[in-house]
Structure formats: structure tokens, C-alpha cells
């Protein structure tokens, strides 16, 4: 048997001999590694994993710089025709109206060039995918490929759907294929429900103003490509750049971007930016949990090392080299780590099963992530386990393998004490501090969530129904759109139980921010300065009354604010105060053409991006003077809004049967979505914080139990000399709590710093909310006290004579 196997055998036996230690250590590690592999699974599938297509590394996304990612159809066609270093494909996401019987709903489609699927190089699950033959005659190829998810969720996973038709935007399309379960589109996480050929643009994405298949003026296609064999990315980029001037038919100014090729296989940039911050941040938090778990294991190991000091010393006497001993210790902690990693992966898989139910309800976008664990996740967990095993096995190993050998001769165990007290106390301090930070953070989120219902957002939150309609997808012209919304508005207002109805572009607290730049008449900007920004909304007449937002001075928008009439705007109180420092009514802003816009009203501030926020300046413009395609209908009700909600679909169907109704919900339901980030924050931090608390409590308990065990002789002597149980308990508990308080002090300082970072995510409470800090601190004190008290009591209750004899 090799020495390694022998080490392994001894380690295994040692672990089995102390099942309590092994259980606690493996549990700690499994919890720590479990949450880490869960977060890493998310990070992996969102940020790291390549697209599940043929040779994903050869795919490139084509753009004109970071902010200019769209191309017109003729430019796309010419780029395809005039070079041979990259095979190009085009696509565009769009909303589609899908009609089934008398129900229409909005789904997400992708309109694609015939080269799309061949370029990706994937195979269908059933039927066929779209190809160049579907991209020939405009309007001549009414075919669609549906996604695996759409097929499962909306077509009952019926294999017979091939050859059936779907009514999309009122036109029949034949289903010719279904994509494979592993294919989630070419953007990670964003899967269209179906794909239709570019030739069907007029039906799928009607545009009354432009002929998108011919016009160079509409840039609407996103391009990507596959490098042909032997071509490298810079080379292909050069080829495309050389075509730029001729194909784009204009000399681009210096500040415009040039054609760029980027590696593909990631999220759209807006989402990527968020994920790039969110997921690593979460990963950091869970690494903190792992750190707590590891210091637990290290502490347990130290305790064991002390218990084994006689044995270790004896091994040294028998000629074990330090390296041999350290290896033995490391083998043992490595074994623990592997066990912990196995448990952790199982736990991580369980957590990931629960994740889809936590995602926010997103209508219109299909967020689908492949959250399965692959070799990356497994290696990540193993790497974590081994690193922590070695790092946290090393400290005890190094401490334990330097015993005072002469003491073995003296038959005196006291002399063999491995000096681990300080290290162990540092571990406890760190654990207490870290769990305090996590618990305070989750406490703040919970408190702010509790406050959410009592925060006044500045508008009516209970008796209100919202829904939005996008007539543009059915090819409505601007004039028809206006008439349609007026029709919907009047029909809704006529319903019993409706107080008033108004139109608006953006619902406050929908997550995200809409801003506009403005210019005050007569105040010229210094040259080169950026114009100031304000929050922005476009609303119809009666909006403020419907939303219950008081008009503080001046008036609401009225029917008379029409395109020909003088341009008008309304501002909020903060705008009036900050921009004009006094009365705003009658003051003027100017638009891009320097035409004056008169301020006719001032309204109260409302929360726009987060509940309880400090208001920013906000500018409202009348819809009638600034036409839009999609709008939200705001319906104020006199009774329960849920009753009226059910009638809205019928109402819209009465106006246009093909028009889908989107985001139909009461204002309360809307706000729940708005609170999603707070909820998920409270949930995750709550889970992690509780884990940290459990781990830290076990840590404190372990140290205390070990301490009293070490001192059982001393305790026995004290008891024999007449000390009362309570004297002994007080002595031990006070020593333990001293360490805990040091940890609490450091933790409070850290938590105070961290909470400031969180303040933008909280509402209704200060980031340094004294109640949260006090409650969490007391909670920690109470658990730590118990963790000290129980072993102390047990030690004091022991018959002093057994402790004394026991040497």
C-alpha cells in the first residue's frame, strides 16, 4: 500500500471515529459550497457558457460600435454579397399578436434571414428549420419555426402541430419545425417564441411608413456571422471595414463607429451590464458564507488537533517528518472537503430547482436559462473544496505538528497543549462579524419590504387597473392609433365602476428610468456643456386626476393642447424648486428646434424609480403633441380593481380583435413587480444570513465546548473547593462572550459601511436603521450566549471527581 493510501485509510478511520466532528464539518462545508455552486451555476449559464451551437467560438456579432448595432436590409444584403470571409445572418426581435379563436395575445417573435439557422449550425428537434429557400419572395413564405418552450407551454407539446397554422398579426403562418430543448436563441436567456423569415416582414413587422426590405434609412437588423474556415476575427473585420464606405454609401464622420466584430455568446449589452455586477456581487456574498463555514471547519480541526496532541507528539518522536505529518492532516481535511463538495453540489442542484419560481413575471420577454450544472460547476465546487481544504487544513496542521517533544517523556499532557487559543478566537471574531454583516443587510431588506405597503408613492395605489396596447405591431398608422386609443378610453370610461381613464407612456415604478434633456428659454448653455436631464413622461388629458396626483398650481393637459396649439409642459414640484427657484407657471423651455414650450402646471412629486426615493425634477408632456405607438391605459375605479381587470380584454377585442392586451394588472400587482429587487434581496440575504448565523453559532459552540473540555480538571478543582455551579458558568460564559463582543464590534462597523452601499435599494427606512441594527445584534448576542451557556452548564454539572480522576 502506498503511503498516500495509508494516509487516506487513517484519515477515513479518524473521521469515522469522531462522527460528531465529521458531521459538523461536512455540513458546514456542504452549506458553504452549496450556495456557492448555486450562484456559480447561474453565473456560468448567464456569463460563461458558450452558446449551444456548432463551434460557438467562430461566431461573431457585427456592430458599428457599442451604441449602434442595427443595419438596414440593403446594407445587410450587400455585406453578404461582397465578401467571403464571414457568413452573415440577420435577425430582429419583435412583438407579435397571436390569435387563437377569439383570444389574442402578444408573443415574442424573431424575424430572421435565411442564413440564420445555417450560420448557427444547429439541428431541429422536429420538422425543419428555416433556410435560404424561405427568404426569397416578399410575402411568399408564411412559415414559422417554434421554440421548444413555446411548443411545450402553448402547443401542448403536440407532435401533430407540424403543418398546422398559427394566426400571427392576423396572417396565417404554417409551423414547419420545432427547435431543440438546448437551443435558447443566440442571446443567452432571451428566447423568442418563434422565428419567421425576413421575407415576411410586411406581415410580421408591418411598417406603414417604410419599405423595410428596400429602404436604407431604417436600420433594424442585428447581424452576426460565422468566420469561414481559416479566417481569423481581425482579418474578417478588415474585410468588412474595407466594404464600409461603399456599402454604407456615406462617409461616416469620425465620431461615428466603424464596423466591429465581437465575440458572441453573451447577453445583450444592457442586461449583460446588470448581470456583470449582480452575479459577481452575489458570488462575493456567498464566498463570505463559505469563509464562515471554513473557519468553522478550521476551528473544529484545531480542537481535534489539540485533542490529538499526544498522538501527534508521539508520531514526531517516532520520526515522522513535519511534511509527513502535515500531509496526514491535509489528507484528512481534503477528504472532508470532497465530502463537503459532494453534499454542496447536491444542495446547489436543489437550490437551482427552486430558482425559476423566484424570477419576476416578465411578459413579453422569455427569460430562459439553462441552469443545469456542467463540468464547469463541478470543477468550481471541487476547486473551492480543495483550496479551502488545504488552506483551512493547513493552519491546524502547522500548529499541531510542532509539539514540545520533551513533554511526552514527562507524561504531562498539560505541557503538550498546542497553542491554538488565539487562532481560534480570531476565527470566532471573524465569524461573528461576518454573520452580523449579512444579517443586518437582510434585516434592512426585510424591514424595507415591510415598510413598502405604508410608503406613499405619491399616486393612487389601490383602486387602479393598468394595461398596455401596441397598435404598431398591427401596422396602425399614427392617426389610426390616436383614434384607437381615444375609442378605448371612451369605452373604458363608460364602464360602470370606472371613475376616470387616462393614457400615459410610462407607469411609475416599472423598474428603470426614462429621462429627457431640457433647455430653459433665455438660459444659454455654456459651449460644449451637456444639457441637464429630468425624469420624463408623456401623458394624456385627465392623467393627473386619474392617478390621484394633485395639481399644485396651473392646470392639467386638456383636449385643446393639440399639435397646432402652443406647446405646453407640466413639471413636478422639485423641478419648479430646483430649476426656477420660484413660480414655474408661464415660464418657458425650448425644444430641439428652439420652439418655446410653456409650463402650464405644477404637480406633486411621485416616486418614479424606487419607493420612498427623494424626488428628482420631472417633466410631463402632452401625448396629443408628442405621438407614440404604444401606450398604457390607466383606469381609476371606484371599487375593487380586480373585478374590472377581467373586462379589459373584452373591451379591447371589441375595438380590434387582433390587438393583444399586455401587462394587464392592478396597480397593486404592478407594485409587487416593482418590489421584486427588494424581495429577492431580502430572500437571498435572509437565506445567506441565516446560514451564516447557524454556522457562526456552531462555531462559537464548538470553541466553548472545547474550552470547557480543556479545563475540566480546573473546573473539577474549583468545584471540589466549593465553587457553585453558577460561579463556574459565569466564569466560562463571560470569557466566551468577551470574544463574541469583539466580533460584534467589528461586525457593526463593517455593517454600517455596507448598509450605506445598500441605501439606494432600500425604501422607507434609513440604511442605518437603529431598530434593525439593535435587533440583529441582540439576536446574535442571544444565540452566542446560548452557545456559551450550554457547554458551560454541562461542564459545571459534571461530578467534579470524574473530572479529577480522569487524568
Amino acid at each position: 500500500m502506498t503511503t498516500f493510501l495509508l494516509d487516506l485509510k487513517h484519515a477515513l478511520r479518524g473521521l469515522l471515529r469522531s462522527p460528531g466532528f465529521t458531521f459538523l464539518a461536512v455540513l458546514s462545508l456542504a452549506l458553504g459550497i452549496g450556495v456557492n455552486s448555486a450562484i456559480f451555476t447561474a453565473l456560468n449559464s448567464v456569463l460563461l457558457r458558450p452558446l449551444p451551437v456548432n463551434e460557438p467560438s467562430k461566431l461573431v456579432r457585427v456592430s458599428m460600435g457599442p451604441r449602434d448595432e442595427s443595419f438596414s436590409t440593403p446594407v445587410f444584403r450587400e455585406l453578404v454579397r461582397n465578401q467571403s470571409s464571414v457568413e452573415l445572418a440577420a435577425e430582429c426581435f419583435m412583438p407579435l399578436s397571436w390569435t387563437q379563436g377569439d383570444q389574442s395575445r402578444q408573443i415574442t417573435g424573431s424575424i430572421i434571414s435565411g442564413s440564420y439557422f445555417p450560420t448557427l449550425g444547429i439541428n431541429p428537434f422536429m420538422g425543419r428549420l428555416l433556410g435560404p429557400q424561405d427568404d426569397q419572395i416578399p410575402g411568399g413564405h408564411p412559415v414559422a419555426v417554434v421554440s421548444q418552450n413555446f411548443w411545450k407551454n402553448h402547443l401542448a407539446a403536440d407532435p401533430a402541430v407540424l403543418g398546422h397554422t398559427l394566426t400571427l398579426n392576423g396572417h396565417p403562418f404554417t409551423i414547419v419545425g420545432i427547435t431543440a430543448p438546448s437551443f435558447h436563441g443566440d442571446y443567452v436567456g432571451m428566447v423568442p417564441d418563434l422565428w419567421v423569415p425576413l421575407s415576411m416582414q410586411a406581415q410580421a413587422l408591418p411598417d406603414p411608413k417604410n419599405n423595410r426590405l428596400e429602404s436604407r434609412n431604417v436600420q433594424w437588423l442585428q447581424l452576426f456571422g460565422r468566420l469561414r474556415p481559416g479566417v481569423k476575427r481581425p482579418q474578417a473585420e478588415q474585410t468588412l471595414l474595407a466594404l464600409e464606405e461603399g456599402v454604407l454609401q456615406k462617409k461616416r464622420e469620425a465620431r461615428d463607429g466603424h464596423i466591429q466584430l465581437a465575440v458572441m455568446g453573451s447577453l445583450p449589452p444592457e442586461i449583460l451590464n446588470v448581470m456583470n455586477i449582480l452575479l459577481p456581487a452575489l458570488q462575493l456574498i456567498v464566498l463570505m458564507v463559505l469563509l464562515i463555514a471554513c473557519s468553522n471547519v478550521a476551528n473544529l480541526q484545531l480542537a481535534r488537533a489539540v485533542a490529538r496532541r499526544q498522538e501527534v507528539a508521539m508520531r514526531v518522536v517516532l520520526g515522522a517528518s513535519r511534511a509527513q505529518l502535515v500531509r496526514q492532516f491535509i489528507t484528512e481535511s481534503g477528504l472532508l472537503s470532497i465530502l463537503g463538495a459532494t453534499g454542496g453540489l447536491a444542495l446547489g442542484a436543489l437550490i437551482m430547482k427552486a430558482v425559476p419560481s423566484l424570477l419576476p413575471p416578465a411578459e413579453g420577454v422569455n427569460l430562459v436559462f439553462d441552469l443545469s450544472m456542467d463540468w464547469r460547476v463541478v470543477s468550481f465546487a471541487l476547486l473551492l473544496a480543495l483550496t479551502t481544504g488545504i488552506l483551512f487544513g493547513l493552519a491546524p496542521a502547522l500548529q499541531a505538528t510542532r509539539p514540545d517533544l520533551v513533554s511526552v517523556l514527562k507524561e504531562d499532557a498539560a505541557g503538550l497543549t498546542v497553542r491554538t487559543g488565539l487562532t481560534r478566537r480570531i476565527f470566532v471574531v471573524a465569524q461573528v462579524a461576518l454573520s452580523l454583516v449579512l444579517l443586518v443587510a437582510s434585516g434592512l431588506f426585510l424591514r424595507s419590504l415591510g415598510k413598502a405597503n405604508s410608503v406613499d408613492p405619491g399616486f393612487e395605489r389601490s383602486r387602479m387597473v393598468l394595461f398596455s396596447v401596441n397598435p404598431r405591431i398591427m401596422g396602425y398608422s399614427q392617426e389610426r392609433s390616436t383614434a384607437l386609443f381615444e375609442e378605448i378610453r371612451q369605452r373604458a370610461a363608460a364602464l360602470p365602476g370606472v371613475r376616470s381613464v387616462a393614457l400615459g407612456a410610462f407607469v411609475p415604478l416599472r423598474g428603470g428610468k426614462t429621462t429627457t434633456t431640457y433647455e430653459v428659454q433665455g438660459q444659454d448653455l455654456p459651449k460644449g456643456a451637456q444639457p441637464p436631464e429630468a425624469n420624463f413622461n408623456q401623458v394624456g388629458h385627465g392623467y393627473f386626476q386619474t392617478m390621484g396626483i394633485p395639481v399644485l398650481s396651473g392646470r392639467e393637459f386638456m383636449d385643446t393642447d393639440v399639435p397646432g396649439a402652443p406647446k405646453v409642459a407640466i413639471v413636478n414640484a422639485t423641478f419648479e424648486r430646483k430649476v426656477f427657484g420660484g413660480h414655474a407657471i408661464g415660464r418657458r423651455l425650448v425644444d430641439d428646434n428652439k420652439d418655446p414650450i410653456e409650463i402650464v402646471g405644477v404637480v406633486r412629486d411621485v416616486n418614479t424609480t424606487s419607493l420612498g426615493e427623494l424626488a428628482d425634477p420631472m417633466l410631463y408632456q402632452p401625448l396629443s403633441q408628442n405621438l407614440r405607438g404604444d401606450l398604457t391605459v390607466h383606469v381609476a375605479t371606484s371599487g375593487d380593481p380586480a373585478i374590472l381587470r377581467g373586462q379589459m380584454r373584452d373591451l379591447v377585442r371589441g375595438v380590434d380583435p387582433y390587438l393583444p392586451v399586455n401587462e394587464l394588472r392592478t396597480m397593486q400587482e404592478h407594485l409587487r413587480v416593482a418590489l421584486f429587487s427588494a424581495r429577492i434581496g431580502a430572500l437571498l440575504l435572509g437565506v445567506f444570513g441565516t446560514l451564516a448565523l447557524i454556522l457562526a453559532t456552531t462555531g462559537v459552540y464548538g470553541v466553548m465546548a472545547y474550552n470547557v473540555d480543556q479545563r475540566k480538571k480546573e473546573i473539577g478543582i474549583r468545584m471540589a473547593l466549593g465553587a457553585q455551579i453558577r460561579d463556574v458558568v459565569r466564569l466560562i460564559v463571560s470569557q466566551g462572550m468577551r470574544v463574541v463582543f469583539v466580533g460584534l464590534g467589528i461586525g457593526l462597523a463593517l455593517a454600517w459601511g455596507v448598509s450605506r452601499l445598500l441605501s439606494s435599494l432600500l425604501f422607507g427606512i434609513a440604511a442605518t436603521d437603529p431598530l434593525t441594527f439593535a435587533a440583529i445584534t441582540s439576536l446574535l448576542i442571544a444565540t452566542a450566549f446560548l452557545a456559551c451557556f450550554i457547554p458551560a452548564l454541562r461542564a459545571a454539572r459534571r461530578d467534579p471527581m470524574t473530572a479529577l480522576r480522569n487524568e
Binding site: 508521539m314 518522536v317 517516532l318 520520526g319 517528518s321 520533551v406
Partner: protein, 233 residues
């Protein structure tokens, strides 16, 4: 004339604790030849264990020179000392010091593992040593399943299994009743008869008589060297 195995000249050991200097050993000269059986006696605190620790390379002297098998060993690194200890020295302690997690066989095997001996050879050596102390039939037992006397026999087997140059024993009978104590002393005597060099610390004059040469320590110095046969005469 047998060759000298251990040669101490002017060995000193000073412990310094909280500004108190304890001169545990002062100016020790000692020569132990191959095949000798030496006992060290003296009152409590006179430095017996300290001397044994230095002989066994568990501790380094504060001064003087120490030659083991003709090589100076007083100022070696920790790992060199561990290596020499493993090959040249066998220890027997008052409280046996068997490792509770390991079986009898594995306890005896341990020094050979540290030496890096192949497992086949280890097995033969271990069984030989266990037979020698009459514990071959208990190889699979754990120390806790043995009596004190049996544990000490296993400890002796562990000490001789590596065929060291010298056996060092610190009060090997201290934790045993007189019957078991005598059995262990008989075992050592048998080992000596077969050629082992032994150096033993003991309080008990009865057991000191098993040795052929007695060294008396007092206050860190050798005050008398005698021959037990002459003493008992």
C-alpha cells in the same frame, strides 16, 4: 573492546523561564558502548528525563558535544533529527503512548512507514517484532482492548521493530503493577541478551539491578558510576 555508540562530553542544559535559569544538566560526560545496558537513577528533578531527551534527540543541549555512532548530532536541524531518531533510536515511555486510533499492528508499523519502507518488508518486520514480545496474536486489536502490561509490550515491539542502535526507556514500569513490571523488565533483559543496547531511567533500585551499569545523577551532575553486580554483592 565494543565500539562506543554514544559519547557525551560536557553536555549542559539550561532552561530559562521568566528570568529564572534552571541548570537541569551541567557538564555531563558519558560514554555508552554497543551492547551495554545502562540505568540512570536519581531523585526527582535531578535531570534524568532531560538527559534521556537529549540522548533521544528530542531536545538539543545548551552546550557540549554529542556523538552518536561517531557522528556529531548536537546541532542538527529538526528534520535531520527526526530522520536519525527514526532509524537509530527506539523509545519506551512510562505511559506507553500508543496511538489509540491505530491497531497494534499499525502502531508498530508506524516508524517503518515514516522511514519509507515498502509494505511487504514492513509486514515481516512488524510480525517479527510482535512475536518477539509475545503479542503476535493481538495484531488486530486496538490499544484500548489491551491490558497495561500488554500495551507496554506493544510499545517495546514498536521501539525494536525499526532495529534501532539504542533503546531509551523512561520509567517503563512506572504505570505497571509489579508482576507486569517484572515481565517488561524480563523482556528488556532478553533483548539485551540478544544484543540490544539499552539506556533506562528508573526510580526503582530493584529494576536498576537488571542493568549492568548504573549512573547516578544528582542536581544535574553524574555523581557516581557503578556496576550493579558489584552493588548487589
Amino acid at each position: 573492546m565494543a565500539k562506543s555508540l554514544i559519547n557525551l562530553t560536557g553536555i549542559k542544559k539550561v532552561f530559562t523561564t521568566e528570568e529564572v535559569e534552571t541548570h537541569a544538566l551541567s557538564d555531563i560526560h558519558l560514554d555508552i558502548k554497543e551492547g551495554e545496558y545502562v540505568s540512570i537513577e536519581g531523585p526527582s528533578g535531578c535531570g534524568k528525563s532531560t538527559l534521556l531527551a537529549i540522548l533521544g534527540l528530542l531536545d538539543a543541549p545548551s552546550g557540549g558535544s554529542y556523538e552518536l555512532n561517531g557522528k556529531p548530532v548536537a546541532q542538527l536541524t529538526l528534520s535531520d533529527r527526526a530522520r536519525i531518531r527514526n532509524r537509530e533510536i527506539g523509545f519506551i515511555f512510562q505511559s506507553f503512548n500508543l496511538i489509540g486510533d491505530l491497531t497494534v499492528f499499525e502502531n508498530v508499523e508506524l516508524p517503518l512507514v515514516y522511514r519509507g519502507m515498502p509494505s511487504g518488508e514492513r509486514r515481516t518486520r512488524v510480525m517479527e517484532a510482535l512475536e518477539e514480545v509475545g503479542m503476535g496474536h493481538r495484531a488486530k486489536h486496538l490499544p484500548s482492548q489491551l491490558s497495561g502490561g500488554q500495551q507496554q509490550r506493544v510499545a517495546v515491539a514498536r521501539a525494536v521493530g525499526g532495529r534501532p542502535s539504542i533503546l531509551l526507556a523512561d520509567e517503563p514500569t512506572g504505570n505497571l503493577d509489579s508482576t507486569n513490571g517484572e515481565a517488561v523488565m524480563d523482556l528488556l533483559k532478553e533483548l539485551h541478551r540478544r544484543g540490544s543496547t539499552i539506556c533506562m531511567v528508573t526510580h526503582d533500585p530493584r529494576f536498576a539491578n537488571y542493568a549492568e551499569r548504573n549512573i547516578h545523577l544528582f542536581d544535574g551532575r553524574v555523581i557516581e558510576e557503578g556496576n550493579s553486580s558489584r552493588r548487589s554483592a
